[in-house]
């Protein structure tokens, strides 16, 4: 199973969990899976067009999904996925 690290800003939607275990597949599938259990996550991570929000970074094994095919980025079974607010750095 893959692991998803949930940022503090979203933990209220997932009963305070820091990490969730998910089946994997693609980022799209993982978001669907989490959203089914904890409605609201997709709304916060995706923009109104259903694309990853410019204000949130999603990473698979530390790599930005924008370099891995976006929501179709593959998530291997043992991968670590991170969701990180984008407004940082510099």
């Amino acid at each position: 199973m893959a692991t998803v690290r949930i940022p503090s800003q979203l933990r209220n939607l997932v009963d305070g969990e820091r990490k969730l275990r998910v089946t994997g597949g693609t980022i799209r599938a993982i978001l669907d899976e989490i959203d089914a259990k904890h409605p609201g996550i997709k709304n916060r991570v995706l923009d109104e067009k259903g694309e990853p929000s410019a204000f949130v970074g999603v990473y698979v094994g530390g790599e930005d999904i924008r370099f891995l095919g976006g929501l179709d980025a593959e998530v291997p079974a043992d991968a670590e996925v991170s969701i990180v607010p984008a407004a940082a750095g510099g």
Partner: protein
């Protein structure tokens, strides 16, 4: 604090208390400090500023802290140098260089850090940290150690030797990360989420960023209380660029100068120019750069947090965001040194090379009062000019050796001229 209204989401406008947070709970938009300009207008004046400390703290009324915790350290109020020789070389008649390479740790980063360390102490943090492209590490290490905070600075392991040495000397925890800046920035965001630390450019970023407004305030005061027509500012995350623009606007808002628009132009390296590329393509949003390749390592941010806001500022103010090659950057470093006697780091080379490009293509008018922001010191990035500068002659300690060498040199010059 009456001058600060709170932290406000730049996207949805939600207002939060002034704690150590940087993103909106509702939309992940960045938070920024909301100031009470009516209040500030009633307490601020040119005379008060002119009688204030010779540092950025003379503008404390426009900053989100009560007073600097350590105002004996002289951050800011750096020279605004009239630059006629550089101007003549590139075709500008009213050119100035803001030399911010002479701050306590030799870059503009001492400004945002002065605000961040003060605010971190006000908020009760005991650990101070940052994710640095090189210069911020030194500024945070120096300020954090002096403030007797436990200090952690993270930087890419492949930055220039001078940046590592400078950051290491203060005795802070210096963590070199094998990866790009964007990778270590993501790592630090995850650490900041777990630890109760004041991470300068993460959870206390809204306060930190405010410090860079002082570059605009000083420019206005040093020009005799007038704004320049055009400025050129280097862009990595875009925080400096957007905050300089905001600084000029605030001077008008609080009544220190009459309304005047400043064209704010930006400078990036071609090997890591996501904002310049989006500007050229007419896009509202940049595409991130995965693997930056540039001599200007301090500007090597492929995923700039304020990239899209920078595009907005350029279009709103009538500025341009351009990029330059490594070769042009090195020429920029040498040109500034040879004309104005200032040795800047690679980011300054990018700025001067961009200035030159914008002057040459007419984006900057020759009569415009123009200010180029030179934000870091050349001694920290000596690798950038390796092989491009050298000793003129090496001699024995005798007058004969000197005279022979001088003769050889003159012959070489004549031979060159004859060709």
């Amino acid at each position: 604090m009456s001058k600060v209204l709170g932290l406000k989401c730049k996207e949805c406008g939600e207002v939060y208390a002034t704690n150590g947070i940087h993103v909106c709970e509702l939309c992940f938009g960045p938070l920024e400090v909301a100031l009470d300009y009516d209040h500030i207008r009633s307490v601020i004046s040119r005379e008060k500023i002119e009688n204030g400390p010779i540092s950025l703290w003379r503008y404390v009324d426009l900053l989100p802290v009560e007073s600097g915790w350590d105002s004996d350290v002289r951050v800011g109020f750096t020279p605004l140098q009239y630059a006629p020789r550089l101007g003549a070389a590139i075709g500008l008649k009213n050119l100035y260089v803001k030399n911010d390479s002479v701050n306590p740790t030799y870059s503009f980063k001492d400004r945002p850090v002065a605000i961040a360390v003060t605010k971190a102490r006000e908020l009760g943090y005991t650990v101070f940290a940052c994710a640095s492209t090189g210069n911020l590490a030194s500024a945070v290490a120096a300020a954090g150690v002096k403030a007797e905070m436990e200090t952690y600075v993270f930087l890419p392991s492949d930055v220039e030797a001078g940046k590592i040495t400078n950051a290491a000397v203060y005795g802070a925890n210096l963590i070199a990360v094998n990866g790009t800046y964007d990778q270590l920035n993501r790592l630090c965001s995850e650490i900041a989420d777990e630890e109760e630390w004041a991470f300068c450019n993460i959870n206390v970023r809204p306060y930190y960023a405010e410090g860079s407004k002082t570059l605009a305030f000083e420019t206005v005061e040093q020009l005799g209380w007038r704004a320049p027509d055009h400025v050129v500012v280097p862009i990595a995350s875009g925080a400096l660029y957007t905050k300089i623009a905001q600084g000029f606007e605030e001077m008008v808002t609080v009544g220190l100068i009459d309304g005047q628009s400043v064209r704010v132009s930006g400078a990036q390296a071609a090997g890591c120019g996501p904002v310049a590329a989006a500007f050229a393509a007419g896009e509202d949003a940049f595409e991130p750069v995965r693997q930056p390749e540039t001599v200007a390592k301090s500007l090597a941010i492929g995923n700039p947090a304020d990239g899209n806001y920078s595009l907005e500022v350029a279009r709103r103010t009538g500025g341009v965001i351009e990029s330059v090659t490594d070769a042009e950057t090195v020429e920029g470093i040498k040109l500034l040194a040879a004309t104005e006697g200032i040795f800047t780091e690679a980011a300054g080379g990018v700025t001067i090379a961009t200035l030159r490009k914008l002057a040459a293509n007419g984006a900057i008018g020759e009569d415009e009062v123009t200010v180029a922001y030179v934000t870091g010191n050349g001694l920290k990035t000596q690798e950038a000019v390796d092989g491009h500068v050298s000793v003129t002659m090496t001699i024995q300690p005798t007058i004969g050796s000197f005279e022979d060498a001088l003769e050889d040199k003159q012959e070489a010059v004549l031979a060159q001229a004859a060709r």
